[in-house]
């Protein structure tokens, strides 16, 4: 059986045209997906059964034992951190937020280690964006800033941006200009008409310089800005102004460097300024396929998109104080639940150290370093392959993920429902 138009549960591109061939509930081939998506959909080794740590070692347990143990950990905690959510569907997010309310925890997503600064930038300025199809149909200039889609979003260029074709962009790449701004040459920069190489941590100054040029104040600027010549910057500004529809796509090069959310803040202003000259939109190149979805669900449920502290029964949002790395880094959490993410690999090791001396619950299909540090491990079905549900693409468009094969494992949503049930039962027992 061939399942058509399957959605890819890997990156924020959320490609929805994948063909998956299934025989006897086994995936036998995956077509149209990139290397990243194909690998994820084809699948690999799984955590076989729930594990619970006893006398220092993880040993096999039943799901019921694991649920109760997880619930007890959460109930005992004064500041439980519920973290992850990027690689699962929105139906799980809803249950996770409800659980966080019930146990009065802090809920945060992987956004706080990727595009969290982008969200804080948006809080300062708003975001002048569009759906990806708008870029495909109209953009004659693509600016990729601190982004390397050739490695991180392999089908982005063909489907949505530099090489895509649409109503006003019939010539595809030939009819477009591409500017890449980065600290190093990459496979992405090789596709550029103009590669602006800058020094790490100087993005803010470069953006301010471009804004100066666009405002006609180039003559008040120094001849070089952070090592880049004014002439080079003027060339970039001219290309931006000359576009009929420009699009600034930015990646972790902006959010992970010195300046962090201020870089985004300034980039958003640059795009707002550009709209006095021509049409320009901006978008964050979100990483995991549904990290955007968590932000959306969390915003409509709590009012805030990430890093929400529900300790006092009210939502309180303040990244820098209430984000996962803040809390773990300062050793403020006394329990952690990780769902569909791997903080042990993706946080700085000094932060991960904070997971070693508190009880950790992991819900995930796959073994990873977070498993090494977990006290309860609950294997789940792979969302988007074995479970259907909602995901939000990097541009905020929501789509329904398909179920392609049956799974012997429960979904993340069901696991959290069960933990929630245990929490309520154990609390009533006391």
């Amino acid at each position: 059986m061939i399942v058509e138009d399957v959605l890819c549960p890997f990156c924020g591109c959320l490609c929805d045209d994948i063909k998956v061939e299934v025989e006897d509930n086994q995936i036998v081939s995956v077509k149209r997906a990139c290397r990243l998506g194909g690998s994820k959909i084809r699948g690999h080794g799984r955590i076989e059964a729930p594990l619970v740590r006893k006398d220092g070692e993880l040993v096999k347990a039943t799901y019921e034992e694991a649920y109760d143990r997880a619930a007890q950990i959460l109930l005992d905690a004064k500041r439980p951190l519920l973290y992850g959510w990027c690689s699962t569907v929105c139906e799980t997010h809803k249950k996770g937020i409800l659980l966080a309310e019930e146990v009065r925890g802090v809920i945060d997503s992987t956004a706080t280690v990727c595009h969290g600064p982008s969200i804080i930038g948006i809080e300062e300025k708003g975001l002048a964006g569009s759906t990806l199809g708008q870029i495909k149909n109209r953009a004659d200039l693509i600016v990729l800033w601190g982004a390397n889609p050739a490695e991180a979003h392999p089908r982005h260029s063909q489907r949505y941006s530099t090489n895509s074709k649409g109503k006003y962009t019939e010539e595809g790449r030939k009819g477009r200009k591409v500017i890449v701004v980065d600290v190093r040459a990459t496979r992405t920069s090789k596709n550029a008409d103009k590669f602006l190489q800058i020094k790490p941590g100087t993005d803010y100054e470069i953006i301010s310089a471009l804004r100066m040029i666009l405002k006609g104040k180039a003559d008040l600027m120094p001849e070089t800005v952070a090592g880049v010549s004014k002439g080079d910057l003027e060339e970039v500004a001219e290309m931006m102004k000359a576009a009929r529809f420009g699009s600034l796509l930015f990646g972790l090069g902006l959010t992970h460097s010195r300046g962090r959310y201020k870089n985004i803040d300034n980039a958003l202003s640059l795009v707002a300024d550009l709209n006095t000259h021509t049409k320009f939109v901006v978008m964050a190149m979100r990483g995991h396929y549904n990290v955007t979805g968590f932000g959306q669900v969390c915003a409509w449920e709590t009012g805030f998109p990430m890093a929400v502290d529900l300790s006092r029964g009210i939502p309180y949002f303040n990244p820098g104080e209430t984000a996962a790395c803040d809390i773990l880094g300062r050793r403020e959490a006394d329990a952690m639940m990780v769902v569909a993410a791997d903080p042990a690999s993706n946080f700085p090791k000094e932060v991960v150290r904070g997971m070693a001396d508190i009880p950790v619950i992991q819900i995930d299909p796959f073994e990873n370093p977070t498993t090494f540090l977990s006290d309860v491990v609950i294997p789940s079905a792979v969302a988007g392959v074995e479970v259907e549900g909602t995901a939000y693409r990097m541009d905020g468009l929501s789509l329904r993920m398909k179920k392609v094969v049956d799974s012997p494992y429960p979904s993340d949503e069901v696991i959290i429902e069960n933990i929630l049930e245990s929490v309520r039962r154990l609390r009533d027992d006391n």
Binding site: K78, S208, L220, F317, G320, E321
Partner: protein, 256 residues
């Protein structure tokens, strides 16, 4: 002056939120009543005496005549002196986040260090820190247009990033270095930095920033020559021109 001494009964790992520790709240209460005030340790609602011992003068006084002395480690106790309008808080050691949030008057004196968001959205009064302060001193809440609107903050050590973000009024003095982006998006107020600063005054619309050490200055600042100030010769800039700003930035030495 009525003096009340508050001491933690133990070290806290989980941060404690204690916005009730304020002269405005304490003034009219007996010690017994103060002991019954609400504080939070993580997600556990407690009464103040569960976590802190309270001693001192038992007779209610006016807010102006109320002085709170915090002895012991308050570095994980947040929101001390929130919205206080008068009176005094003296912190023997260090104080946790959000000390003097929305403070309107009175004095907070910290003998050790202060954590992040010191004097957030402050409107009046005085905060002094003998040690250093964290990020976002005198800043606003996320998404708000205005941070500190009035009052004074004096830090004898150094301060972290985003000092006085969105400042609209008041003065902040830091004796040492500050982190990145001091005075960004400020619309008024006065900032004096004894040491170095990195990209101060980003998107400043109005206000004044003096850097007595070295400043990395944005390309969107226009040089206005040199001026003399308190016996120093400082380079003067105006900006931030990307926002058509008319703020003044002075620095003893400049990198651009």
């Amino acid at each position: 002056m009525r003096e009340i001494v508050v001491k933690p009964r133990r070290e806290f790992d989980i941060p404690v939120e204690a916005e009730t520790i304020s002269p405005d709240v304490f003034a009219s209460l007996t010690l017994k009543e103060i002991e019954g005030l609400e504080v939070w340790e993580g997600n556990r609602k407690q009464v103040l005496s569960d976590l802190f011992s309270v001693s001192g003068n038992d007779s209610p006084a006016t807010v102006e005549e109320t002085r709170i002395k915090l002895e012991g480690n308050f570095s994980r106790t947040k929101r001390i002196g929130e919205k206080m309008t008068a009176g005094e808080i003296e912190v023997e050691g260090s104080v946790g986040m959000h000390a003097g949030n929305g403070m309107n008057g009175g004095v907070i004196c910290v003998n050790g260090d202060a954590s992040d968001w010191l004097g957030r959205e402050m409107r009046g009064g005085l905060i002094t820190v003998k040690g250093s302060a964290g990020d976002y001193v005198g800043s606003g809440y996320r998404g708000e247009a205005c941070g500190m609107r009035g009052g004074n903050i004096v830090i004898e050590g150094y301060a972290g990033d985003y000092l006085a973000e969105h400042m609209c009024g008041g003065t902040i003095t830091v004796a040492g270095n500050v982190g990145d982006f001091a005075g960004s998006s400020n619309r008024g107020g006065t900032i004096e930095i004894g040491g170095d600063a990195y990209l101060p005054g980003a998107e400043m619309v109005s206000g004044s920033i003096v850097v007595k050490g070295k400043a990395q200055v944005l390309p969107s600042y226009q040089s206005e020559g040199v001026v003399g100030l308190e016996g120093m010769t400082l380079k003067k800039f105006s900006g931030d021109l990307v926002e058509n700003g008319k703020g003044n930035l002075y620095a003893a030495s400049v990198e651009q």
